[in-house]
Structure formats: C-alpha cells, structure tokens
C-alpha cells in the first residue's frame, strides 16, 4: 500500500516537473531552470510532508485505533481554552495594533481587513450556499463606484451612501443571481465570470459617467460627527477620518460586524437552508426549502458585504478606477476562502492575513504572489480540500465521496 502511494507520488512529482520546469525555466528563449527547480522542490516537499503525515496517521490509526490524530488533539486542546479569552485577546491585539505599528504596517493591516471582509462575504455564496462565484469583485466595484459617484455628483456623505450602495449591490446580486438559479456549478462559474467582466468593461467604457480608465478621484473621506456647544448653540461638527489609524478602526468595526453577521446567518434558519442547498439542492427543495429565494438571498447578502467593503475602499483611497476590479481580484478573494477552509470564518480571517500580508512583507515575492495563489488553490484541493481551519460541517463533503479509488461515481447515461 505504501509502495503504491509512493509510486503515485513519484508520478505526480514527475508531471509537476513537466509542468513547472519549462513554464518557469524559460526566460524568453534562454533556459534557466534553477528557479523552476526551487519551486518544484517546494511543491514536492509539501507533497512528501502530506504523505508522511498521512502515513504516520494511518500507521498510528492501525496501532491505536481509537486515539485521535495529533491535529484533532491540538484542536481539542485549543478549544479547551475558553473562547472568550481567545477572542478577547485577538480583539485586544487588533485594537492596539495601530498604536504599535507604523503607517505602512497600518496600511497593510487595512488592506488585509478589506480582503477579510470580502472573503467573509464571498464565503456566504461559495462556502455556505455552494455557488461558485468568479465575478464577486464586481460587487466591490458597485460599492466603490456608488459611493464615488454619489459623493462627487451630489455630495452625499459616506454614511448616507453606504445603505444606497448596499441596496444597489443587493440588486446587482439578484440580477446576476436570477438567471443563474437553475444552472449547474460550472456554468454558474462562467456566467458570474462574464458578469464580473461586463461590470468592469462598462465602468471602463462609459466615459461620461465613470470617467473610463482614468477613474474617479476627490471623494470625501468618511466622517464622524460630534456635538459642539461652541458659541452657546448646539451643532454637529464633521470630523473626517483621514488618518490611517482612524480608517483602520473603521474597517475593523466593519469586519467585526461582518463576522457577527455571517456567524448569525450561519447558525440561523437561512444558514441551514443554504447548507441544505449546498449539500443537495433537489433534496432541499423537496423538503420545502425555498431554494430560489434562498439562493438569491445568498447572492444579495454576499454582494451587500462586498459593496460595503468597496465603499470603504473608495473612501479610503479617495480614488477608484476600473482596473482595481480585475478578474484576478476575484481569484484572490476566492483563494482566501479556499485556503482558509470553505465555510470557516476563523480560517478566512487567518487566510486573509496570510495571503495579503505575507507578499507585502516579503516584497521580493510580490511577482510570485499570483503564481503562488494559483498553486495554493490546486495543491490545496488535491492535498487538503477542507482548508487550513476546516469548518467542521464542510470536511466530509470536499473529500472523496467514497473510499474506493477505482470507483466511478456515476453510471452516466445521457
């Protein structure tokens, strides 16, 4: 059995080499394979590690059949630490972070938090409802442009534009969601991808409204109002959240609210309906779950969270242009969801920070960022489809549906 697995591993490593070495080894027409070999080494290392972990687990399972593997035990140990302390500690860390960090680090923190909130929103659609959305970034764009246009044309404030952006985002979510209701997973992926591109192209081409590729700038920052009793009278004074720490706290609050919202949704009747749809749509429908309504709701809510993040993004930069909303951005968000563990909130938070902050910290790796994202997605699906911090419910679904390696799941007859 071990021998067979090793053989499989060797073949896999061989094909990986075929894939990697020419793809990365050629510099235009000259051949410099060392870089490719390094990356290949990393991949094979991961695979071997995975193999060893599996073998050790398997071996141990054979010896002491009812003892849990070490990860389970660690997780159990972690879960024994009162959750309040863990969450409290993290909250404290997040709260004091701007006091310890320089502006650059705070800026990175803000970017991470934006992506975390996007990841959490996409998690509703992909993780909970099981609909693969490749155009998610379009809703982010909707939020950003809604605020930008409202602010620039009518002088609407951030807080007033936010609900409008959310509503518009939800409407767009439904527009995209509606035609895709009856579609199968892979068609859905393509359609959402198409929608995402349409939104970007419209933003790019509709010069008179969106200023095309030049983008919009000069939007006001979000404001806070505080009462003032100066001159004996009472009035509200606007305070613009211009400093990075202030913006950091704002997005932190948005993320915390998003986490609370998504958690409550997950554990609600709606959340269970989504999971039922994800597991088996026909069965869900037959058991009386209104699938149409619930899928639309997933799209709409996912879009709403992205829209909020988008509005914040535009307000923070005071600038936006269509090239912020490329397909690659959708892929990054999707990668966060996948790496973290589809459906797992703590996983997405961790993955958001890892995937966004690590390439920022190691600047030299920036060029390799998307390469790594792609590789992570594939390797994760092959090695550990449930993600780094799996959502318990999700674990079973993503692994092979049956234990027999030769079995084909279908007796297709079309």
């Amino acid at each position: 059995m071990v021998r067979q697995e090793l053989q499989k591993l060797a073949v896999y490593a061989f094909f990986l080499a075929i894939l990697l070495i020419p793809m990365l080894g050629f510099r235009s027409a000259s051949f410099e394979p060392d870089r490719a070999l390094k990356i290949w080494g990393v991949f094979v290392g991961i695979l071997i590690l995975n193999f060893i972990v599996k073998a050790v687990r398997g071996g141990r399972a054979a010896v002491e059949a009812h003892k849990e593997p070490w990860t389970e035990r660690t997780r159990e140990r972690i879960s024994r630490i009162p959750r309040l302390y863990t969450i409290g500690g993290l909250a404290l860390l997040a709260a004091v972070y701007p006091l310890m960090a320089n502006n650059y680090m705070i800026d990175v923190g803000i970017t991470c938090l934006i992506y975390v909130s996007l990841g959490l929103g996409l998690n509703i659609v992909v993780g909970l409802c099981g609909l693969l959305d490749l155009g998610y970034i379009a809703f982010y764009a909707v939020g950003a442009y809604t605020y930008s246009l409202l602010n620039l044309t009518f002088g609407v404030s951030f807080w007033a534009a936010l609900p409008m952006g959310v509503v518009l985002g939800m409407v767009c979510g439904c527009i995209i969601g509606y035609p895709t209701l009856k579609m199968r997973g892979d068609y859905l992926a393509i359609v959402t991808l198409g929608f995402g591109e349409i939104v970007r192209l419209v933003l790019n081409n509709w010069d008179s409204l969106t200023a095309g590729p030049n983008g919009l700038f000069g939007m006001k920052r979000p404001t806070l109002y505080y009462p003032s009793f100066a001159d004996g009278g009472f009035s509200w004074v606007a305070y613009y959240l211009k400093s990075l720490p202030a913006l950091y706290y704002l997005i932190l609050i948005i993320v915390v609210l998003t986490i609370v919202g998504v958690r409550r949704l997950d554990n609600s009747r709606i959340g269970r309906a989504w999971i039922a749809i994800r597991e088996d749509e026909t069965a869900a429908e037959l058991s009386g779950v209104p699938t149409t309504w619930n899928k639309l709701l997933a799209y709409a809510l996912g879009a709403a969270f992205a829209s909020v993040a988008g509005a914040f993004f535009a307000a923070k930069l005071s600038y936006t242009n269509p090239n912020f909303f490329l397909f690659m951005e959708s892929c990054i968000v999707l990668c966060i969801v996948v790496l973290g563990g589809v459906g797992s909130i703590p996983g997405i938070v961790v993955a958001g920070f890892v995937l966004i902050a690590v390439p920022e910290i190691f600047r030299g790796l920036e060029n390799y960022r998307m390469l790594a994202f792609g590789a992570i997605m594939t390797i994760m699906m092959v090695v550990k489809p449930e993600g780094l911090i799996p959502a318990s419910r999700r674990k079973r679904e993503l692994h092979a549906t049956d234990p027999h390696p030769h079995e084909e799941s279908d007796g297709r007859d079309r």
Binding site: T401, D402, P403, H404, H406, E407, D413, R414
Partner: protein, 241 residues
C-alpha cells in the same frame, strides 16, 4: 450441492460497501464452467451489486474473487474485462450516440483478431437479425427490446468466457423475454458460462442449472435450479405461487 465440474468463478466471503451501506455481507458462491447459474432475490437484496463487484466496478472491501483460479478482486473493470468476463448491466447501458454497429464494435474493443471478430459479428446478427437491420441507427433510438439484444450482442462481441447478465427481462414484453432466454441457451451451448441475475425467477430458474437466492446482502439458499423451483419457500416468495 455437489460441484463436479471445475468452477470458472468463485467468490469467497465477499463484502462490498456503497458509501456506508454494507451491501454485500459475505457472499460465497461457485459457478462451474459451462453452466448457467442464476441469482434471484427481491429488490435491493444486492444482486446487481454482486455482479458489479465481480466486474470491479464496485470493488470488494473484503474477501476473494477468483476467475479461473486467479484472484481478480483487486483488478479494475477494464482489467476484469480483459480476463474474459463480460457484463450486460442493468438498464442495458447502450452508448446512445453511437450506431448499433459501433456499439457492437466497442464490445470487441480489446480484441485484435479481426477475422474472428467479423465471424462473431455474423453470429450476433444471426442470433438477433433485427440488429443487422438497425446497424446504422443510433443506439439511443432503438426500442427497449432492441437495446437489450444489442447489449447482449455487445457483450458477446468480446467472446467472453463468462457472461454476467443483469435483468435481461426488465421492461420487456413476455414474448420477447422468452426469445431472449432461448437465445441465452443457444449462447451457453457455444461454451459461454452465464451468470444471470433476475427478478423473473421462474424464467431464470427454468434455464439455469444452479440457483442462488439472495436476501439483504446474503445468499440464503443454494441448490440445483430444478430443486429451487420445487422449494416451498422459494415458490411462496419469488414464484408467486
């Protein structure tokens, strides 16, 4: 039961799981070379699973399957087919967008002896003349009976030593069923061992020499087919008498 002839297929304590369902709970049986054997039982007893396990489609978790003395339980379906085991599965599984002729050709996929294949094709056409008329027609457009004949014909095209047949009578008019069973006898006379799974117990036992009765994943009764036809229990449960 006295096994006199050398057995072509032998199952020993075979267990199969469908996901978490324990579908076969220790099947043991032995089919002598040149015989017609049948497996009868109610819906969901595990008859089809038995055949799929033999073919390697639903691999056995435990136990041993020997074909001509050689263990085959670890082989993949295409390898089992290569050994000389053909299956006509439930629901016929015709390739709908290939012609009748191409379907038959696929049956001989593993064979290299072109002349013998042509001979077998003529033989199949002589067994089922209607297939010759329909040779250019797409499999998906044939009637149920024609599809069943095509499915059997396709299996024969591999010139199998052992033919596994799952419910050949399903959904067919009684007259057609009779014809198909008659043909099965003819096929058997040419030296092909047949293992038949049937709901139509009466028909099946009539042409078989050995019969097995299956209930919820186990074989509960094994005897000569003629004896099973007289068995009170079998009569009551499966023959509707």
């Amino acid at each position: 039961m006295a096994v006199t002839a050398k057995s072509i297929l032998e199952l020993t304590d075979v267990h199969t799981y469908y996901d978490n369902i324990h579908a076969l709970k220790g099947i043991s049986l032995s089919i002598p070379e040149g015989d017609i054997a049948c497996l009868i039982g109610a819906n969901g007893a595990g008859k089809s699973t038995t055949l799929l396990t033999i073919s390697g489609v639903q691999p056995a978790e435990k136990g041993e399957i020997r074909f001509r003395g050689e263990p085959i339980q670890h082989l993949r379906p295409e390898q089992v087919a290569g050994k000389g085991v053909a299956q006509t599965p439930e629901g016929r599984q015709i390739f709908p967008r290939m012609t009748t002729f191409e379907n038959l050709e696929m049956g001989a996929f593993l064979r290299k002896d072109k002349a013998a294949v042509a001979e077998d094709l003529e033989w199949v056409f002589s067994l089922f003349p209607v297939l010759k008329e329909r040779a250019g027609q797409l499999g998906g457009t044939l009637s149920g009976g024609e599809q069943q004949m095509l499915a059997i014909g396709r299996s024969l095209m591999s010139r199998p030593a052992l033919l596994l047949l799952d419910e050949p009578s399903l959904g067919l008019a009684p007259k057609l069923v009779e014809r198909i069973f008659k043909t099965l006898l003819e096929i058997n006379q040419k030296g092909t061992t047949i293992f038949l799974v049937e709901q139509n117990a009466h028909m099946a036992l009539n042409i078989s020499r050995t019969g097995y009765v299956m209930e919820t994943g186990r074989i509960v009764l094994t005897d000569r087919a003629s004896a099973l036809l007289e068995n009170e229990q079998v009569k009551k449960a499966y023959l509707g008498e």
